[in-house]
């Protein structure tokens, strides 16, 4: 579960402070797949970062007792001059997977991303498809209670997409997602709760169709 208590978040821009959320309080029941919808710039990604702990509110608290992933498919953290293996090792170390656990995860990512011996080449030599396959595989190699997904469900070719969907389905038996998407069919397919982010506020819809209807109207 997530609980937001009096959360205020703003960003300082060259033209002054811009508030994304003001004094926001809400609770999201446990065990639900959460969809975040809203117009561009409404604050969906900010909310996701706040939930994931990658960003901190100006005031107020966000409480959760679950483990939360980094944004699935995050490629920005890769160091181009380091090999794929070293980049995977880096994330493993940060998340405390050492020794056998680390080797196992490297093997998993290597198999999943189908990169074979490219794993020892510098990341900057990878094609963008390879890079995102590694990033997606890396996210799947770790078990989290919640996976944060920011509009990156589609990487690679058709076959790889099928594989992703399959692995993801397995993950969803034990875990949940926080999904940011503009694709309503996807939201409908994956989510149990919809959070409509609009005008600095958030409405929680337990009925997904109702939420989508409210978004479209």
């Amino acid at each position: 579960m997530f609980e937001l208590r009096n959360v205020t978040k703003s960003y300082l821009t060259p033209n002054g402070r811009r508030y994304v959320f003001r004094n926001l309080s809400l609770a999201i029941p446990p065990g639900k797949n959460i969809g975040l919808i809203g117009r561009n710039g409404a604050g969906k990604s900010t909310l996701m970062r706040l939930l994931g702990g990658a960003d901190v509110p100006d005031s107020g608290t966000i409480v959760t007792d679950r483990s939360i992933s980094w944004p699935v498919g995050l490629t920005g953290g890769f160091q181009g001059s380091m090999s794929g293996r070293d980049n995977i090792k880096f994330v493993c170390r940060v998340y405390g997977a050492t020794g056998d656990a680390m080797r196992e995860k490297i093997r998993y990512v290597q198999e999943f991303a189908e990169i074979g011996d490219w794993i020892d080449e510098p990341i900057k030599t990878y094609s963008s498809g390879m890079r995102s396959r590694v990033a997606f595989g890396l996210s799947m190699a770790f078990d989290f209670d919640y996976y944060l997904i920011d509009e990156v469900m589609s990487v690679g070719d058709a076959q790889f997409k099928r594989k992703c969907a399959k692995v993801f389905k397995e993950k969803l038996q034990h875990s949940n997602v926080v999904l940011v998407s503009h694709s309503m069919p996807e939201i409908k397919k994956l989510c149990d709760v919809v959070l409509l982010v609009r005008d600095g506020g958030i409405q929680v819809y337990d009925d997904v169709d109702e939420g989508i209807h409210a978004y479209k109207s």
Binding site: Y11, E104, D143
Partner: protein, 276 residues
């Protein structure tokens, strides 16, 4: 590859860790990453990494030894230069690298465990390791050539070196915070380190600096640190009047307080992707 093969890797569930454990593993991971990226992908990366500062130090020591008198306060001039210049370069590099740390590590803050402070600490560790290796190589080289490389009071020397490092850390962090708010200042700060070379007495003993300017020059903690280091390494070296360890300690404490306080106040702003 058959899809079934994926299932045979049981993905282990990670144990919850304490904050200290997390920070330790993050710093360790960052140190390795930093070292890796500094070494580069080329095979000669490691050689070049060490060779560059070695050349820098060698050129200066040899050049100035030829230009000036052969000895300064009873020691060979190259030894005199090395003893002061190596720590100065370490402190300068530390401060400047911390200044660039935020920009170069921005993408890592997507992982919530990694905070800017961790990247600062990792940079200091890597920079110190490189400097220590370079210094050790040069000291052995000089000793092999026939210079007397013994350290007069080793414990105090190490203490002063660490104090200087702490000072450089505080300075670098403050510079990082300042240049985060005002990025255009970076070039000015870089340029400011050049005259520091001369007014800190890196190439000459502080007694050679104009005496009338001394009260002003003594405001510069680098001058104090270098004089103290030389006095601790060279047996017959007398630092200039007014050099005091207390001044450096006080300065460092105030600096650390300021930079950590400013960091605390700005920490959310630093990791925010909305602010370049």
């Amino acid at each position: 590859m058959p899809h079934g093969a994926l299932l045979c890797f049981a993905v282990t569930i990670l144990k919850p860790r304490s904050s200290l454990q997390i920070q330790k593993s993050v710093i360790f991971a960052l140190v390795l990453r930093e070292a890796r990226s500094r070494l580069g992908s080329r095979r000669l990366g490691a050689v070049w990494l060490l060779l560059e500062p070695i050349c820098h130090l060698l050129v200066f020591t040899v050049l100035f030894a030829m230009l000036r008198a052969r000895t300064v306060s009873g020691v060979e001039y190259p030894v005199f230069i090395l003893v002061g210049m190596a720590p100065f370069l370490l402190y300068r590099n530390t401060a400047l690298r911390l200044m660039d740390s935020l920009r170069e590590n921005r993408s890592l803050f997507g992982y919530k465990q990694i905070k800017p402070l961790d990247t600062y600490i990792a940079r200091v560790i890597v920079e110190t390791c490189i400097a220590a290796t370079v210094y050790a190589i040069l000291v052995f080289g000089f000793a092999w050539y026939g210079f007397d490389m013994s350290v007069h009071s080793p414990l105090q020397w190490v203490a002063t070196l660490l104090l200087g490092l702490l000072f450089a850390f505080g300075l670098g962090m403050l510079l990082a915070l300042i240049t985060h708010a005002l990025p255009s200042l970076k070039i000015v700060i870089r340029m400011a380190f050049f005259p520091l070379y001369f007014i800190s007495g890196v190439l000459i003993p502080a007694t050679y600096l104009p005496q009338s300017m001394m009260p002003v020059l003594l405001l510069n903690p680098f001058l104090h640190i270098l004089e103290l280091i030389r006095a601790e390494v060279l047996p017959h070296y007398t630092p200039v009047d007014g050099v005091s360890e207390t001044y450096v300690i006080t300065f460092t404490m105030v600096l650390l307080f300021l930079s950590l306080g400013a960091y605390r106040a700005r920490r959310m702003h630093l990791i925010s992707t909305k602010n370049g």
